[in-house]
């Protein structure tokens, strides 16, 4: 014979509801715990700020990068673009040091079919795993900044990784070290005390192709508008 069910009185209801809420609350706290801890010790976000007014186009960064990373002839992980504006005598010269932006929403990473392009979660740097890269050049095609190339020595994609072998040992990237005008400043963008954050604190910065929303981690100060992107107007004018 089935046991008759006992009707739930107010006390019983409150006890059960309290127990349920306690379990739910404990669950939420446990679930949130790693996130809360993460917020306290935020992961690093390596980035760079380049003050174009300080750049002298000495190409020290270009040479340092080539020798540090064994970059093959005819290819560049870092280079300096140079233009002249105006007519004599009202001329101005502008420089734009270039490198991989290690974007927060990197198109090269999203489109890599094998996952050879990956981001290290602890610092946000974008890398290429040469053992997995098939050399399909999708990432070279995808990068809106022209920062990637296929290394003819390894037949895999290649790019700047902020000299990862140096920064993980507490050194600065080779281009930053070699910059004669101290135009390049490197550091953790999440750390308000880092040189890069301190430098950026009182300056307005620009980023390349901001319209694409790739969130580049290389910021520019005093970069001229004319040098920042491709110049389609010249081509449209048929020059």
């Amino acid at each position: 014979m089935p046991k008759p069910e006992k009707p739930l009185d107010r006390r019983g209801f409150l006890r059960k509801a309290g127990a349920s809420l306690s379990v739910l609350g404990a669950g939420v706290v446990l679930f949130q715990a790693p996130t809360l801890a993460g917020a306290a010790g935020r992961p690093k976000k390596y980035g760079m700020v380049i003050d174009c007014n300080r750049c002298t186009d000495c190409q020290g960064c270009t040479i340092a990068c080539i020798s540090e990373n064994n970059v093959p002839d005819g290819h560049y992980r870092s280079w300096v673009k140079c233009i002249e504006k105006g007519e004599y005598p009202n001329l101005s010269t502008h420089f734009l040091p270039r490198l991989c932006n290690n974007c927060e929403d990197a198109p090269c990473l999203n489109l890599c079919p094998t996952g050879a392009t990956y981001r290290t979660p602890q610092d946000g740097v974008v890398h290429v795993n040469r053992d997995v890269c098939v050399g399909c050049r999708i990432c070279v095609e995808a990068c809106p900044y022209g920062s990637r190339f296929v290394n003819p020595l390894t037949n895999t994609a290649d790019k700047c990784d902020f000299c990862y072998h140096r920064i993980t040992r507490g050194l600065e990237p080779a281009c930053v070290d070699a910059c004669t005008g101290r135009a390049r400043i490197f550091g953790d963008l999440n750390d308000p005390q880092s040189p890069v954050s301190v430098y950026m604190a009182d300056k307005s910065t620009q980023r390349l192709r901001a319209d694409l929303d790739t969130k580049p981690k290389v910021h520019y100060v005093h970069a001229d508008e004319a040098i920042m992107g491709p110049d389609y107007n010249l081509l449209l004018a048929g020059r």
Binding site: P113, C136, V140, G146, D231
Partner: protein
């Protein structure tokens, strides 16, 4: 006033993906389009005498899809790592899906072709003859009893199921091509919703043209009996109608695309300039518009012209040249827009890859022709009656 700008130093990035990949995209769109046109036409006619054309429209795309990965493999920096794309799967990349879509597409075409050829293979294997050993090899298990209609009745359900699966994969393949190019958000010429429509229109145009050309070649090479030839020529004339309207659709899609480019900022206007007056203007106006759109449209405009195999084949060749030119224009053109400077990017010469591509395409064509001599494309009663 805007100041004049003079470039002192910059980097040319070149064109990363060359002609092999352009041909790869075109061949895939051609294979998918051919199958779509052939199979949708079967759904329309549902007639046994249409079956030889359905075989052309299923087996030839299979040959293309079986050989086309060679283009991709030859273009990789590490061809020996090609297979890693199957298991190092990166879910945000369209190519990671495409590798599977194209592979399953090829497999479904192979199985569908098997069921299409099976009744004739069984009958020919029983009859003996020059290729009967090969036919037995292609038929796993015990050779079935019964006449063609009984064999057909027994396999009908499986055959149509695989036809449906292969049709679904064909559409997926064309959609994949469009999504693939439109996913490059830094490339102003490709980052457009029109890419799916462009590949769709190019696929259907190329597919109907390819069916006309290959079926006429089949009829020329495989001694088709007169009673089979007459309905096939009627169907081929109907493919001419599909070709005519797909050319119109393609023209409309390109027109909308070029208008949209005009409203996509300076980059979009430069992309449209590249077609109209820039470095690809000859390829656009001559190959794509005059040869690829206007000429085949005129040649398929009147029924009298469409019914002549030579004229229809000429229209098909012109339409195929136009679709190839269209894909190459958009693929190479999209990469020649500069990323960081003021000059068109150029492709470094790749003589080895070009020769490889041309040889592979020639081999592909020879395989098409060889299958006409070897495989039983015609229905068994017709070939038996004709024999």
């Amino acid at each position: 006033m805007e100041q004049s700008v003079q470039y002192i130093y910059w980097i040319q990035h070149g064109v990363p993906l060359g002609y092999l990949i352009g041909w790869y995209l075109w061949l895939i769109s051609l294979a998918e389009g051919t199958h779509i046109v052939a199979h949708l036409s079967w759904l329309y006619y549902r007639s046994e005498d249409y079956r030889p054309l359905e075989k052309v429209g299923t087996f030839q795309p299979f040959i293309i899809l079986a050989l086309v990965p060679l283009f991709l493999i030859a273009d990789l920096g590490h061809p020996e790592r090609f297979y890693t794309m199957f298991y190092n799967w990166h879910w945000t990349s369209p190519v990671a899906y495409g590798v599977y879509i194209i592979t399953f597409c090829m497999i479904s075409y192979a199985i569908h072709s098997y069921y299409l050829f099976r009744p004739e293979l069984i009958i020919r294997a029983r009859q003996g003859g020059a290729w009967s050993g090969l036919y037995r090899l292609l038929l796993p298990g015990k050779t079935e009893d019964g006449d063609r209609n009984e064999i057909l009745a027994r396999q009908r359900r499986r055959e149509r199921a695989w036809a449906g699966v292969s049709l679904a994969f064909s559409f997926l393949g064309l959609i994949y091509l469009g999504i693939l190019l439109s996913s490059f958000k830094g490339r102003v010429m490709w980052s457009s919703s029109m890419m799916v429509f462009i590949f769709g229109a190019v696929g259907i145009t190329g597919g109907s043209a390819f069916l006309i050309l290959l079926s006429n070649l089949k009829n020329l090479l495989s001694k088709t009996a007169d009673e089979a030839l007459r309905p096939q020529q009627r169907y081929l004339a109907d493919f001419g109608v599909i070709l005519k309207y797909s050319l119109l659709a393609q023209a409309a899609v390109w027109f909308v695309y070029l208008v949209l480019l005009q409203y996509t900022g300076t980059g979009g206007r430069l992309a449209s300039y590249l077609f109209m007056e820039g470095p690809r203007s000859f390829q656009f106006w001559f190959w794509q518009v005059a040869v690829g759109l206007a000429l085949p449209f005129l040649l398929t405009l009147y029924r009298g012209l469409r019914e002549k195999p030579l004229i229809a084949s000429l229209a098909a060749v012109a339409a195929l040249a136009g679709t190839l030119s269209g894909i190459i224009n958009i693929f190479m053109g999209g990469q020649s827009l500069p990323m960081t400077n003021f000059r068109w990017e150029h492709l470094a010469p790749e003589p080895g890859k070009m020769i490889f591509g041309i040889v592979t395409m020639a081999v592909m064509f020879l395989v098409f022709l060889a299958t006409y001599r070897i495989l039983p494309y015609e229905n068994a009663e017709v070939s038996e009656g004709g024999a």
